[in-house]
Subunit: 230 residues, 2 copies
DNA sequence: CCGGATCCCCAGGGATACTG
DNA sequence: CAGTATCCCTGGGGATCCGG
């Protein structure tokens, strides 16, 4: 092998900057590129991921785009890349503290974006983890002292669970036995119902099936549309 | 993928979409393009603006870019465009409610971006309004019952005022007579000092001049780096 | 199969000139 | 002042290829 005295081991991306001494502009210098925040979303929702996990969680992304973004994210200190021990024995990507600190940013974008979810687009991809984060991030238990309860969500074949307990709204992907309430319908209907964008009547009109303790929906209280930072 | 409404009477941009039924992705479909959020920043900080006001507030933007973004923003309902009456007698751009609701998004991005403000870049643009929003958005009065006070900030020739009164931290661009405290220095030093990123000693080491009631700085309490949405 | 790298092509973005 | 028009370049999308 020839040694060209060139160091190819350190990736150096050309970073396009707004060149403004403003924390918003500097933030956008780092996270403003296409796909970047969605990669952070996946790592926040899924935890450490393999390349393929990210690819599957980001329908529509090109592999070269994902690859180059991961390098940039590593270079800017938002993720770390490490070799997982057996039995995984592959490369894992994980958020650093700086990267995980973007959660409030994603929450606010997602909260703002909720109002644009009112139409179904046939070719939109949909995943259970996206169904799960909405009630966890955008609702609170209106009756924190109420009894523990679970709600099974089924939307477009994707399943997620909402658990009300101790005043918190927790969610995860998957199935629960003996839920107190089952909501089955289109992504729009199920998401709309649990985030308070539509009511029970409208959800049923959209073809949803709701079985169990309907009044549990009253406990899912949407958080204000424009909360203060503090 | 692309929306191909062919309508010749109304401007219709081809909106690139992530095609994911996820409120974060849908939000980014609208606000994720380059310059979009910085235009919203200017309209939030300055109020209704003329084209030239925006151009001046967005150093580095190309006029065609600004023009096309304004059309997109109008089309997506984030701004309105209207003819101002005399004596202005020109077109003004103003945020709609939907557009103004992006303030929490900008706050979180700016709060996250603060940590990347630690280096001065010689060719970065700087404006007084960017100096002003930081203490207003990212600090609180640690002594809400304390006496009213004003702080004059001077950074890179740009002037802004901080007013502590009634528990609130208000700021504006410009000059105040008889401030209780005057901070004069580089953008990095002044911003770092008022947002709690650096201390008085470090600010002085960076060449800052601080005159007046130094203890007023104790009242500027940085808000937590990762506050909950609620 | 996993984890990318490479190539091609087009659209989005940037700089500047120009016009009502 | 308020944008258009033009040119050019780079970033991003899509498919394919390749070593482990």
């Amino acid at each position: 092998m020839f040694n060209h005295h060139l160091d190819f081991s350190v990736y150096h991306a050309r970073v396009r900057s707004y060149d403004q001494y403003c924390s918003i502009a500097r933030g956008l210098d780092i996270i403003g590129d296409r796909w970047t925040l969605l990669i952070v979303r996946e790592l926040l929702l899924q935890g450490p991921c393999r390349f393929t996990d990210l690819k599957n969680g980001l329908p529509g992304v090109a592999t070269n785009m994902l690859s180059s973004r991961l390098k940039e994210l590593e270079q800017t200190g938002l993720i770390t890349r490490y070799d997982a021990p057996p039995p995984v024995a592959t490369v894992l990507y994980e958020l650093t503290r700086d990267g995980a600190d973007l959660e409030p940013v994603l929450k606010q974008i997602g909260l703002w974006g909720l109002r644009r979810m009112t139409d179904d687009r046939a070719d939109d991809a949909f995943q259970a983890s996206w169904l799960a984060y909405a009630p966890a991030w955008f609702t609170a238990d209106a009756n924190p002292d109420g009894p523990p309860a679970t709600i099974q969500l089924i939307a477009g074949g994707q399943e997620a669970v909402i658990a009300l307990e101790g005043g918190s709204v927790r969610t995860w992907v998957g199935h629960v036995d003996h839920p107190d309430l089952v909501i089955d319908g289109s992504p729009r209907a199920v998401l709309g119902l649990v985030t308070g964008m539509i009511d029970l009547k409208a959800a049923k009109a959209l073809g949803s099936t709701i079985r169990g303790k309907h009044q549990l929906l009253q406990r899912l209280h949407p958080i204000p549309a424009t909360p203060e930072v503090e």
